[in-house]
Structures are given as structure tokens and as C-alpha cells.
């Protein structure tokens, strides 16, 4: 019985560790995505910001890069802080406008980061995104 108890505790501990690891993994990914390209509201709002501010005109419909760089590639190395700085200050000499004047961007930049991270990770498909709760 004792051995069983120990085993049970071990199992519980292991499961706890696994769950914790899984939690860690999901907290690393700033987005949640489910089949049908459905995402959490924040990521969805990020995609809406991408669309409304016409980012595809420079970065491509699939973030693959055009006159602007590929964000699928950039987001593999760019930190969230670097992303924030680039978005808000722009890179005017390279054609990237500063978006700090956009209320929509101020509100949704983290969601946009989440969306682009999801695109870069290959977890979010190109094209239309839908909110999870709908």
C-alpha cells in the first residue's frame, strides 16, 4: 500500500510537473489558436489591426516580405521589446512608419505581436482569422 501511495504521489508530482511545463509552454506562446484559424480575442484584434493599417502593402499578404522585410523571418529573432520599439518609432529611413499615433495600434500592439508570432511559428495560417468565441 505504501509503495502504491508513493507511486501515486510520484504520478501526481509528475503530472503536476508535466502540467506546469505545458503551462510554461503555452505562456511562452502569446496566442491561442484552434482549427479554423480561430484565435483568442487579443490575437484576433492584432490581426484586425494588421488588416486595418494595411501592413500587407509592405510586408506581404502572408507576411512573407515585399518592400518591407518578411515578418515570418523577423519574428523568429525579434524580442517583444524590439517589436514594440519598431512598431511605435518606425524605421522611417527604410519606409516603416511610426505607429505611435494610431489609437488602434496603441491598444492592440501586443495582439499584433501575438498574431505575427503565430504566423512566424507556423501555427496561425495566412489569411482571415476568426475569434474563438464565435
Amino acid at each position: 500500500m505504501k509503495a502504491h501511495r508513493v507511486f501515486a504521489v510520484l504520478v501526481v508530482v509528475c503530472i503536476s510537473v508535466l502540467v506546469a511545463k505545458a503551462d510554461d509552454a503555452s505562456s511562452e506562446a502569446p496566442y491561442t489558436v484552434q482549427p479554423g484559424n480561430k484565435t483568442d480575442q487579443k490575437t484576433y484584434d492584432g490581426w484586425r489591426t494588421w488588416r486595418a493599417l494595411a501592413c500587407e502593402r509592405c510586408h506581404g499578404a502572408e507576411q512573407e516580405g515585399m518592400v518591407g522585410p518578411s515578418l515570418v523571418e523577423s519574428l523568429k529573432t525579434m524580442t517583444k521589446e524590439q517589436f514594440h520599439t519598431t512598431i511605435m518609432d518606425g524605421r522611417p529611413d527604410r519606409g516603416m512608419p511610426p505607429w505611435n499615433g494610431s489609437a488602434m495600434m496603441q491598444k492592440n500592439w501586443e495582439g499584433l505581436y501575438a498574431y505575427l508570432k503565430g504566423r512566424s511559428d507556423g501555427k496561425i495560417a495566412p489569411g482571415h482569422v476568426y475569434p474563438l468565441q464565435n
Binding site: A52, E56, R57, E64, M66, V67, P92, G95, P97, S102
Partner: protein, 627 residues
Amino acid sequence: MLLETSANNDEEKTIMNKPYARPTKAALAAVILSCSGVMAAATELEQDMRDSANWASQAGDYANHRFSSLNQINAANVGKLQVAWTMSTGVLRGHEGSPLVIGDTMYLHSPFPNNVYAVNLSDQTIKWKYEPKQNVNVVPVMCCDTVNRGLAFGDGKILLQQADTTLVALDAKTGAVVWKAQNGDPKKGETNTNAPHVFKDIVITGISGGEFGVRGRLIAYDLKTGKNLWTAWSTGPDADLLFDPSETMTWTNGKLAPVGKDSSLKTWTGEQWKLGGGTTWGWYSYDPTLNLVYYGSGNPGTWNPSQRPGDNKWSMTIFARDLNTGMAKWVFQMTPHDEWDFDGVNEMVLLDIKRGNRTVPALAHFDRNGFGYTLNRETGELLVAEKFDPQVNWASKVDMMTGRPIVDKRYSPGTTGPDVDVKNICPAALGSKDEQPSSYDPRTGLIYVPTNHVCMTYEPFQVEYTAGQPYVGATLTMFPTPGSHGGMGNFIAWDPAVGKIVWSKPERFSVWSGALATAGDVVFYGTLEGYLKAVSTKDGKELWKFKTPSGIIGNVFTYSYLGKQYVGVYSGIGGWAGIGMAAGLQQATEGLGAVGGYKDLAKYTTLGGSLFVFALPDSGTRSASNN
């Protein structure tokens, strides 16, 4: 040795390499003009345009013909054409427009930062260069690459319309700044890509920014002083439009009728006309007899039609305005309540056509919407409206009584509403033809037209306006016309009197280069892969081609120097068709899957920025003159 001269503004640099020594047909003409005091006398520009050795304006004339009477290079010998000389502009972006040639000097321009070079034709050395210093913040608010469609010349000045909405007049001899004017505010998304146009003693310019909620207008300046003479808005109150409600006419129920009071305001909700678009970045033309300027206006503000009910006048419109006052004599709206981004800015080609026994002063226009229009340019009467690409499907035809297209609801994003994909609309937003100008050969009576053969999926969505930020509101996917030859362009010959295609030459990609027809029975155009081609004006048969280092979106031009004819073009891909589309069409659509599409462009070419000038070998010239 380089000598630096001071410009009016020390931000800009004009660099001269030696005192200008041209003797000066220009100065003589000016003296004659000022002594005679006869206003009706030909201006310096008009005299220079009459001499076919020059290419003194972007179209070679006021009428947008882009035709040259030079014939040393002709259908019999064009196959021997070879490179005479080349020059880099130092900029790797889309090169639209063409250089100008006046006397012994060629004037080149570059995309942003809009450098200007005056080059000696005798030895291709640089006489002077002008390097404007523009705020780089203008680049992000330029829509479709940082193109510039070229310079204008008149009254001893070279006119440069900078991207940052500064219009500059430079002394053609020295490059020194004579005057400057400001015609917009980049902070509001206002920029310029158009070439300024000199008509008589007036400079006309426009504005870009249709994707930023910019309110379009045409602006006139005094060529001598840079003083603003008039500004004619595309949307808003009659006073802003320079309309006389009882005198400005439009085609209405089979006849011409006055536009009436508030003709624009009535077609918008509230104050939406203030973001109304109707920008003016095309090629303008001028009829000196009627003293009328012709041009078209672009898309209405936001590409989401559900947000702006009404006809959205006078976006998508042909305007005929008095050169001196700007007052509109007539207007014609081609695409009321645009749902596709079919800007109406493409050039108006002024020509005379036969209607029965009558000769009618007409203008021909190839609209983005896929219809080739012919109107009476004196009255605004609609004469012809036919598809110049048979695959156009968004409208079945134009009702000749009302002038309105009959829209097919299956291809109407305004009918399906926001957040719905409307598929297989032909043509795509860049139209059956965009800014790439056509060429008219008065001897054949045909217009040679570079066209697009591209369709799209269009999904509009709700947007809010913030000054200086994109105000688009639609997501697009473009692909080659399904069920056709698989290519994305055609080069066609069009009869504007009846509205029929005479011949059509398929091309792998959109033909985004301005055409040039000559009295040598050849018509030249460039391709996105980078070929400069010469084809027969009679049947489109390809006679010669040459691969330049980059894709061609510039306009072909010709001139003669010391008795020898030259043909030139910029090689430097970009613009909407080049950079935007080449990389923007990666989505797996049926059309792309079938034929490869624009993404294949990367197999053929890469960025560039050079001028190519061609001529016959000396033996070829001799045999030509013997012919």
C-alpha cells in the same frame, strides 16, 4: 572639376560641372517672344515639341500622343538596334516616366529622393545635378513604391514634382532653384508621384494619397513665378470644384445637361467628401484651340464601399477645365460608387475621329475599369464605351444613355458587404490598364495600349480614418485571368472610333511600360521581365527585343542628336506591378497554380535603376537613310 553653386535653400544641392554654354534657341525664343509681345505666339516648349529631334515633354506633345515622326529606325532595320550608351540613376526603385531631351541636353530623374541630372548628349557627362533633401517620413505614406513619373520643361526651366509635395522650378542651364511651391502635406498622407505638366505659361500638378483619405485636386502655378493660380478640388462644394452649376455639363440621359447645384455634396454622406479621394496622379493633356486641360480623378476614400453610400462624385471622373481659370466645362464619371479601386486617372489621348461624314474632336481613355471610352472633347458627349479586354466581367456594358456601367452583382463587394470574399472579379484593382500610358499613331488612327490581364478576390472591411495613416479597408488577392492565355498582360492595338481591338499580343506579365509609336511603323514597349520590344504597328509582330537588367515600368522615348535617332527607356522594376505584386501574389490561388503568376517575376529580374539608350549601328543608319 565639380563646382558647387548655392541654391535658394541650403538643404538642396545643385552641382554644376561647368558654365552652361548652350547657345540658345531657348533664349532667342524668349527674346523674340518678349519683343513681339504676342501672347498667341508659340511658347518655347511648343517650339521645342514641334522639333522631333527633342523629347521636350513626357508625352512628346500636349495631346498625349507619345508619337514621334522620326523614322530612321523603322520596321525594316529595327532588328539591328543596339545599345548606344547607358547610365545609372543610383536608385534601386521603380523607374516610371522618361527623361526629357532638349537640344544637346538630356534631363533624367530618379525615384525618391528624386535626383535630377542634366547630361551632355555629346559625351554623356553630367552638366549639373540636383539632389533634393526630403524628409524620409514621406516614404511610408507613398502608396505603391516611391516612383516619380518625370520632369517637365518650359520657359528655360526644368520642373520637378518631389514626393514630399514640393514643386521645384530649376534653371535648365544651371540647375539652380528658380522657385518652389508646396502643394500638399505629407503628414496627412499627401505625396506626389505625377509628373508636372507645362501647358502654355502654366504648370499643372496634382496629388497622390487615395489610400490615405486625401482629397484630390488639380493645382495650377504661374510658370514664371510659381504663384498659385487656381486649385480645383475633386469633391466638395461647387466653389471648391470650380463648377458653375448651370454651365458645367455632364452626360445625362442621352444628352448633355448642367450638373446642377451641389453635384458632389449630394452624393456623399455628411462630410465624407472631405476624405473623398479623387486624387490626380495621372498624365494630363491640353487642347490649345479649346484651351481645355483634361485629366481623370482616382478612387473615392476607403476601398470599403459600404462605408460611403452614393455615387461619390467626382471621384473616378474625366474633367475638362479651362487652363486659365480652372473652371470645369464638362465632367464624366466612369465608375460611380467605386467598389473595386478602378481609379480614373489614366491619360486622355486627344485625337480626331470620323463619325459618319463628320470629324469629331475627341478624347480616348482606357480606364482601370476595363472600358475604352471615346468622348467628344469639346462637349463631353459619350461616343464609345467598349471593353478593351474581353474578359472584363464586373459590368456587362456601359449604358450609353446614362454613361453608367451595368454592374454584375456577382462581382459587387458593395452588394455582398464587409468581411465577405468576392471572387474572380475581372479586372483586378490595378485595372485592365493602370498609369502606363498608351501611344497614338495618327497615320494608322490606332492607339497602342499596354494592358493588364489580371483578376482578383476582394474583401472589404470597416476602417476608421486617422490623418496620415492608411485608409484602405479591403484585402485583395490578384491572379492571372482564368481561362485565358495564362499571361497577366496584353499589348493591344485599339480603334478609338469604334471601340474595337485590332490586334492583341499576349504577354507573360502586365505591360507596365509606356508605349512609343513612331513614323518608322514600329511601336516600342517594355516588359516586367526587362525586355524592350519593338513590334509592327500593323499587326503586332515582334521585330526586335533586348533584355535590360531590370524590369521596365518606364516609358519609351525617342530623340535625334547630330542626325542620328535614339530610342531610350528606364530599366528599374517597382511600382504596384513590380515590387508590390511580384511578392504579394504568393497565395495559392487557382490562377497562380495554373500559370505561375507574378511570383515567377523573381525568376526573370531583380531591382535596378538605369537608363538604356539604343541606336542603329552606323552602317544600319546609312542603309536606313538609303531606304
